[in-house]
Subunit: 423 residues, 2 copies
């Protein structure tokens, strides 16, 4: 079962997907040489949007939380990829301390943690899950809906090493995006911390990611001789916005207008009849809190109190001051009349699967990763590594291959972004 | 559908498989450090025998010819692994020249070549298949039983580079074991040749492989604190045997006796009631030609003319002069009353699948890879990377994990063997 495009696959994207197929050897070779030059994050997930005329990443998560949503048939791919990552980063490792988010009541998230633990175990590592929650003072079993159990344990710090009891891990793997800041516990460790602490939302900025992505998309477009806009959303950024005090609104409105104008020119060039929209969201932070869809600059001037409150705060009460204005990409994939948005999962530089967020209550121009949102995950039914040049460019394996290519472009941007953050 | 062990899984192997599970992190860490020290061949397949009290490799093929027999569900694993290999060996590569065996009428083999071509293509390489056959003077399409077509093309040599027309490959991948010798065409190339020419049967010797395996098995057994014999067949070798002239028979009989005596001691130690047997086979060569099962030294003295003719020659008319005497390992796996022998496939250092050779007409002490043999391939139904310590040691995923471990020991031995051959 795969969502279908509700728009006829039109000129630009069909051409793009065709070029992905015919240029596959060049693309893969290009990626190989890029991975020689850049250090890939341990893992990542990328939200894509497919409008039929454009296929672009809109968010890159360095602490992916949906491993439970992947097709279980591809678990061996995750294991291979995790083994490759461990080989490169820490071949001598025996034990990994996995530090998840503090969501002890989110069954879906906890299943993700358990799946991640299994992947690491089956890669041949001893794995213990250490919690940052102060109330976890002893090993605590949490029953999961599927009958399994996840054990959370308190983390000890001795000098600059973390441990759990007498378990002394070589590596600390974060599945916690540090939205609440970097805890003292994690600072200055002698153990390898993956991804690096700088990848957390205390220091990470979406605008830096998409600035790196701009360069990646330019290089890739030059390789394929295509318009980079086909895989790259316009964006701009406003600093020092205060939604409560209503400062920074002029900057925001002006930049919204600039992005919309650039989009109008592109829509005209490609004959796209839809209304352009931008997504305004916090430059740091996650979970789709503080996100709005805007079709006209005036909308960001006329926010009511409720809207301003919503925009002002993201996860863990982080105040929003830097705001990203990102070209909106319609998602024209639908299944049973619900909109669907692909999320691609990568471990090391390998695409290991993905799923669709399927949401019945949302429009094609809305963010599908919103708080309290109950999307239905639909695992990719086939791998992203099986392009077939003999079938149509938008045939399922070919569409998935295209998703894997664009997701890897975002992964490459994340690599460059992390290099800059840790330099 | 998985063959079952006809013998109750007894003490030694059950213990062994249990240790594989409990020691998985140590095992995987050990392999990781080994792969840092040794260069793994591009690909390999390993024939294993599982007697219920022993699990050991009996043959390691550096030019595996059964990719068509693997479970198609695991194709993405092959692709990942091939990408890893290419990344390490030749990241800049765009094109590969694949050189198969000269079997243009063996449909099974040709399907293997096509599958291998697809794996390489889906890894992102341009692939052309070049034939060593003199009658291939232009591109020749061969129709395969499944409706697909394999195109064989003539290979050109200009200076020290091979090409096909204007296709100038970076890498030459051999799927030809060079039993007929190393053709002049392949000597002294500036292109990377995989595996190296020294891996062909002109220079390779099984006894060197199993000598390297001895060391690997010793180290591995020390790691796990087990008797290395549980994963290692005894062997010895006789040079200058001439089956026609009946010279070297004394050496052969004496060594057969030595191996049988060592086996009797081990069988007594472990309470094994079966009769020990040895396999006598050519030290160089493949396809199971020139192979006999021997339970008493006298049998190699009383060969009739037909048996001597059979033993004297292997594939491509190679004369046998060096003979390997290898401890026979019973295969006590059966399916529908046919004996079954697992074959594990690896690309780079990753286990990518495998299949059983299922043979109705053979005994548990006979070689299943014989000329004219019509085994039925039965693809492994699950991956070899999903051990589950919570289920029984001989549960299917755990048995497959054990196969993957022992196959990788043989792969490591092949790595060391190739290092010595190319030193």
């Amino acid at each position: 079962m795969v969502p279908h495009l509700t728009t006829a696959l039109k000129g630009p994207l069909l051409d793009l997907e065709r070029r992905f197929l015919t240029e596959q050897p060049s693309i893969e070779r290009w990626f190989r040489t890029q991975w020689l030059e850049h250090t890939v994050p341990f893992y990542a997930s990328v939200d894509l949007r497919n409008s039929g005329f454009k296929l672009a990443p809109v968010d890159t998560n360095l602490f992916p939380g949906g491993f439970n949503n992947l097709n279980p048939d591809f678990l061996p791919l995750c294991i291979h990829a995790a083994q490759s990552a461990i080989e490169k980063i820490c071949p001598e490792a025996r034990g990994v301390l996995l530090i998840p988010e503090n969501h002890t009541r989110n069954q879906f998230y906890l299943q993700n943690v358990l799946m991640l633990k299994r992947v690491l175990q089956q890669s041949g590592l001893n794995v213990r899950v250490g919690s940052l929650l102060p109330e976890i003072t002893q090993a605590t079993d949490i029953a999961l809906a599927d009958g399994s159990t996840l054990t959370l344990e308190p983390i000890l710090r001795k000098g600059n090493r973390l441990s759990i009891g007498d378990f002394d891990p070589c590596v600390v793997l974060l599945n916690n995006d540090l939205s609440a800041g970097v805890p003292e516990l994690l600072r200055g460790l002698e153990q390898n911390v993956l991804p690096p602490l700088q990848g957390g939302w205390t220091t990470r900025r979406k605008s830096k990611h998409f600035a790196a992505y701009d360069h990646v998309a330019q290089d890739f477009a030059a390789l394929l001789d295509i318009d980079p806009w086909l895989v790259n959303p316009y964006f701009d950024v406003c600093g020092e916005v205060d939604f409560h005090a209503r400062t920074g609104e002029d900057c925001l409105a002006a930049k919204v207008d600039v992005v919309l104008q650039k989009m109008r020119a592109k829509y005209a060039e490609y004959g796209v009849k839809d209304a352009p929209f931008v997504i305004v969201k916090a430059d740091a932070g996650t979970y789709g809190m503080g996100i709005m869809t805007v079709k006209d600059a005036s909308e960001v001037r006329d926010l009511n109190r409720k809207q301003r409150n919503k925009m002002a705060v993201v996860k863990e009460g982080m105040q929003v001051s830097d705001v990203l204005i990102q070209e909106g990409v319609y998602t024209f994939e639908q299944i049973n009349e619900a909109v669907a948005e692909p999320v691609v999962y990568m471990v090391d530089h390998f695409v290991v699967g993905g799923f669709y967020r399927v949401h019945t209550g949302r429009g094609t121009d809305e963010n599908l990763n919103a708080p309290g949102m109950h999307f239905v995950p639909l695992a990719f039914e086939s791998s992203c590594t099986l392009p077939n040049p003999h079938s149509a460019p938008d045939d399922t394996p070919n569409r998935f291959y295209a998703y894997g290519v664009v997701a890897r472009l975002a992964l490459l941007a994340a690599s460059i972004e992390l290099e800059e953050l840790t330099a």
